[in-house]
């Protein structure tokens, strides 16, 4: 699999400055290795984690805590990348030194070879001299034998001369053989030494590139450090409120398959995601590393995080299995997998106190489970078609479930009786040409104070075959159960909404989805038409709100997860992102 993370730094809503590194994968791997080394649990007592920060500095706004946390994480990231860059620099130095050493050794080898060669020459000369001495002594012997016949003593002396000369030849011959051996050895040493520089040379290029990549990674992250510092300063001056008009893209994570679902983790460090590849994913927003685990046998479109420090996430797959995970920076561990539904699990949700889990499935059932041990608490029957969504009221006393037909049932938590039905039929149509039901409750959201419920999907379907209709959010008054509004985009747009959220203060709603193209729309609670629209490059199949209440993540068909910042625009040093390289 090939994952890539793009970071975008922008100070205005429409300045989408992106970068892509040619060595993105290598960078990820380096960063991933660094993460492995650290392997920090997601919800530790680490002072940098906002969970801890909340307890340490009560009274500070959530957004400020997260801004502080972000700064700490970026600082940490810069430090880590700085260390990586230093290691890379050292590795490059070492490689360069290796080349120099090899070249020096080459000179020494050259001299040794020359010495050996001259030794051979000397030995050859010695041997030639000795051979001449033998010849001379033989000549003397011959002359003596002719001239001094009978002179035994002279003859013996001449013979001795020959013997002595022969011994000298023998010694010279051996010396020459030794010298040749030595020269051969020197030659062979030379071949090895000559290879060395080229060998060590090859290490220089990757080391150079690794250093460049590490330097670049560091340089790229620096602006985020700067920006997060400025963001914190700005937030310290004026507590920020999300401003849809300021919405800008800040980060893009690229995967290799279309994305279906996304959830921020509770400390805002990572984004969990489900995709068409059946795997469960988590990307760290600071280290940009992704971890992936394949447990589900089908697409993963439903997920929910348990509140609190346990680090537990639940996922529901289209094959009907529900999995409990513990998520750490380094690994996603499946704790428990149960057969929850026959057919798709379409939604998972967790009660506000974290004790109960509710799931909705294609078997027309809503099921309630113990969050701690996965036992079935209650099976809620009554829907007649696929149940598309389920949500707990913030009070924890009620559960709502919505189906394909736009039927929304309310159940009392505890007795598990059906207490009310809300009319979401505007989200459904039976298409007589297509002969099928179209629509359904694609997303639920409660306002934080529990006064409103939003249900989202598609309405006014004119062509079921091609999914042509109007994206919409149906707003209900919770107390009366009355439908207050059917909210639609201000401008004509065709498609559906797949994710809806209330702003933390409950003053506006945001929905994301799409059809031919993607879109994100913002509505004030009093208006039927959106007051702000953000085009997305592709259909958004899920939407989540960062725990800081200022950022949104969307999971897109175009294989990206995108994070948008809604914090008010603030004065900042212009950070120009490095140009994209191919």
């Amino acid at each position: 699999m090939n994952y890539q993370v793009q970071l975008t730094v922008a100070t205005g809503p429409c300045v989408a400055a992106r970068r892509r590194t040619a060595r993105g994968t290598a960078l990820c791997l380096v960063a991933f290795a660094a993460t492995l080394a650290v392997s920090r649990p997601l919800h530790s007592d680490d002072a940098a984690a906002p969970q801890a920060a909340v307890t340490q500095a009560a009274g500070e706004s959530v957004a400020l805590k997260f801004a502080r946390h972000d700064l700490a994480r970026w600082t940490e990231q810069v430090k880590r990348l700085g260390e990586t860059a230093a290691v890379a620099a050292a590795a490059l130095d070492s490689a360069n030194k290796g080349v120099a050493d090899a070249k020096a050794a080459q000179a020494v080898g050259d001299k040794a070879l020359a010495d050996a060669a001259s030794a051979v020459t000397a030995a050859e000369q010695a041997k030639a001299g000795a051979a001449k001495a033998v010849a001379d002594s033989l000549e003397v012997l011959k002359k003596t034998a002719i001239e001094k016949q009978g002179d035994q003593a002279a003859l013996t002396a001449a013979n001795a001369g020959v013997d002595a000369a022969a011994k000298v030849v023998e010694a010279a011959t051996k010396q020459l053989a030794d010298a040749i051996d030595a020269r051969k050895q020197a030659e062979s040493n030379k071949v090895a030494i000559d290879k060395k520089p080229a060998e060590v040379e090859t290490a220089v290029k990757p080391a150079t590139e690794a250093k460049a990549a590490a330097d670049k990674a560091l340089a790229d992250v620096q602006p985020f450090l700067t920006l997060s510092g400025e963001r914190l300063t700005a937030f310290e001056k004026t507590p920020p409120l999300p401003d849809p008009a300021a919405t800008r893209l800040v980060q893009t994570i690229t995967h290799d398959r279309p994305l279906l679902a996304c959830r921020f983790d509770a400390n805002g460090d990572g984004l969990f995601a489900g995709a068409e590849d059946n795997a469960f994913h988590r990307w760290d927003l600071f280290t940009t590393s992704g971890i992936h685990s394949q447990v589900h046998k089908s697409w993963l479109g439903a997920m929910a995080c348990l509140p609190g420090p346990a680090g537990t996430v639940l996922t529901g797959g289209h094959e009907g299995k529900l999995t409990w995970w513990t998520a750490a920076d380094s690994a996603l561990s499946a704790v428990r997998t149960i057969d929850a539904h026959k057919g798709y699990i379409r939604a998972v949700t967790v009660s506000p106190d974290g004790t109960l889990v509710a799931t909705a499935g294609n078997d027309h059932l809503v099921k309630v489970w113990s969050a701690t041990d996965g036992t079935l608490v209650k099976e809620l029957a009554g829907h007649t078609r696929h149940v598309y969504n389920v949500a707990f009221h913030p009070s924890g006393t009620a559960l709502v479930s919505g189906d394909l037909l736009g039927v929304i049932k309310q159940w009392a938590v505890g007795p598990w009786t059906e207490t009310r039905e809300l009319d979401g039929k505007v989200l459904w149509k039976y298409d007589t040409g297509f002969k099928a039901d179209v629509g359904g409750v694609r997303s639920f959201a409660f306002s934080a104070d529990g006064t409103h419920l939003a249900a989202a999907g598609i309405t006014d379907v004119s062509n079921a075959f091609a999914g042509i209709g109007t994206p919409c959010v149906v707003l209900f008054d919770w107390e009366s159960g009355k439908q207050l509004k059917v909210m639609k985009p201000k401008d004509a747009f065709q498609g559906s909404i797949y994710g809806v959220r209330f702003s933390p203060a409950g003053d506006f709603l945001v929905g994301a989805g799409g059809g031919g193209a993607g879109g994100m729309w913002f509505w004030k609670l009093d208006d039927e038409k959106s007051f702000q629209a953000i085009g997305l490059p592709s259909v958004a199949y899920d939407l989540d709100l960062h725990p800081d209440g200022l950022r949104l993540a969307v999971a897109l068909f175009d294989k990206t997860l995108r994070i948008y910042d809604l914090s008010p625009k603030f004065e900042a040093v212009q950070v120009s992102a490095p140009p994209a390289t191919k």
Binding site: P258, S298, K435, A436, G467, G515
Partner: protein, 423 residues
């Protein structure tokens, strides 16, 4: 194209002979009071019948006969084993999977046509469209051979589908399909009070005579279609017992499902049991450019059980061996999953299922590549399929229809039968 009545070919002579013969047969039925049991007995295994299940809009081969789970094109659904070891089909067809030993799969279809109308034409006629001429559709074409000469019933009945006289082309109105509303007997199937069968027959004879006189020297396509529908209506009245759903135990209707398609399948079974030669029943709609999987779960969830029940019922009654069953549509759907989680039109590499008469149950022929984007083994087109259908019901596909002194191939001479799936 309309039948040309001036030609005087043998085909036309036989049609006129039929019109007189049919009146006689009707009379016999009306007066002789042949019982249903006798009629059923007469339905010998020698008479071959054909049922087409038409999955309108183009069902996805990946969610039916050629699943590719775990690939980038496979989607979220799984494959399940079937009653034939080693053959897997989509999890959306659990009941059909249990009937797999009665069905053969053709997994290497390449019709190279992504237009609904043209795709349907290829699959229903076996020929590529050509301007100005229409081949007879599968129902009229096969009925023209298989329908007993003295059959009191229409040769082709479309259950819950538009029945256009155009489908008979030059074979003429005798073989034009009769359309019936979903699962219900036709209204006004009973003669009005006070009118005896004899009187009815008498007034019809006069109606027919007057109409014939009017038609002389005029263009007759419409008038013949109009008159043929009276003959069809008379045939339906004579055999109205086959539409009597009140006699079917509730439990049996329950087995098929009480939705329209369940009723259609039960009706198709009754029609086949009662000797109708060709029945086409349509299930809508599979043109899933968006939400392919949601719609396939819904639609195939409705299709699977009644279809499987139909197959097992026919097998139990000993009728499957003489009834060719074809599950098809205009084309398959794109392996690539689009931005609306839909699949688009795909004639390049897709599948159909056939079973019953002349077919080797459990056979699988043709193969697509790992993610289903191309046929890699035993590629076939509409021509091969028509050769196979003709052979399966014991007919020679290489003999031509003759019309206006010209031969018209029953099946494309450039193709031949898929013998691997023939019994």
């Amino acid at each position: 194209m309309r039948c040309n009545y001036a030609c005087g070919t043998a085909e036309h002579l036989s049609r006129r002979t039929f019109l007189q013969g049919a009146a006689g047969a009707l009379g016999a039925l009306s007066f002789g009071g042949m019982t249903t049991a006798q009629a059923a007995q007469q339905l010998t295994s020698a008479q071959k019948r054909v049922v087409v299940f038409w999955l309108s809009g183009g069902v996805s081969q990946l969610e039916t006969w050629d699943p590719k789970p775990g690939t980038d094109t496979g989607g979220p659904l799984q494959a399940i084993p079937t009653s034939v070891p080693g053959v897997h089909i989509s999890e959306l067809l659990p009941f059909t999977a249990q009937q797999m030993h009665h069905l053969a799969l053709v997994r290497g279809i390449n019709t190279a046509e992504d237009d609904h109308g043209k795709g349907a034409y290829i699959m229903l006629t076996g020929h590529r469209p050509q301007p100005g001429f229409e081949y007879p559709y599968i129902g009229p074409a096969l009925a023209s051979h298989l329908m007993p000469a003295d059959s009191p019933l229409p040769g082709c009945i479309h259950v819950a589908d538009g029945a256009s006289a155009r489908e008979a082309s030059f074979l003429g109105p005798r073989f034009a399909p009769v359309g019936l509303a979903a699962g219900s007997p036709p209204n006004n199937i009973n003669l009005p009070g006070g009118l005896s069968a004899e009187q009815d027959s008498r007034r019809r004879a006069l109606r027919s005579k007057l109409s014939g006189r009017f038609a002389q020297g005029r263009r007759q396509a419409e008038t013949e279609a109009y008159s043929a529908s009276y003959d069809q209506a008379a045939a339906l009245i004579a055999r109205k017992d086959i539409f009597d759903f009140s006699s079917i135990p509730d439990a049996e209707q329950e087995r098929y499902g009480k939705h329209d398609f369940g009723k259609q399948c039960l009706m198709a079974r009754k029609l086949i049991e009662n000797g109708v030669t060709f029945v086409k029943t349509t299930h809508s709609n599979y043109d899933t450019h968006s939400e392919n999987f949601n719609f396939h779960i819904e639609q195939l969830g409705e299709f699977d059980r009644p279809f499987a029940t139909f197959i097992s019922d026919l097998a139990e009654r000993g009728l499957l061996a003489s009834t060719l069953v074809i599950v098809m549509c205009e084309f398959g759907r794109t392996p690539r999953i689009n931005h609306l989680v839909g699949r688009d039109h795909w004639g390049k590499a897709w599948s159909i299922a056939v079973g019953g008469a002349g077919i080797q149950g459990g056979a699988v022929v043709g193969k697509t590549n790992d993610n289903g984007t191309a046929v890699v083994d035993r590629e076939v087109n509409g021509g091969h399929l028509f050769h196979t259908y003709y052979r399966a019901v014991g007919l020679d596909p290489t003999k031509a229809f003759w019309h206006e002194g010209r031969p018209f191939h029953k099946a494309d001479p450039k193709a031949d039968a898929i013998t691997e799936i023939l019994a």
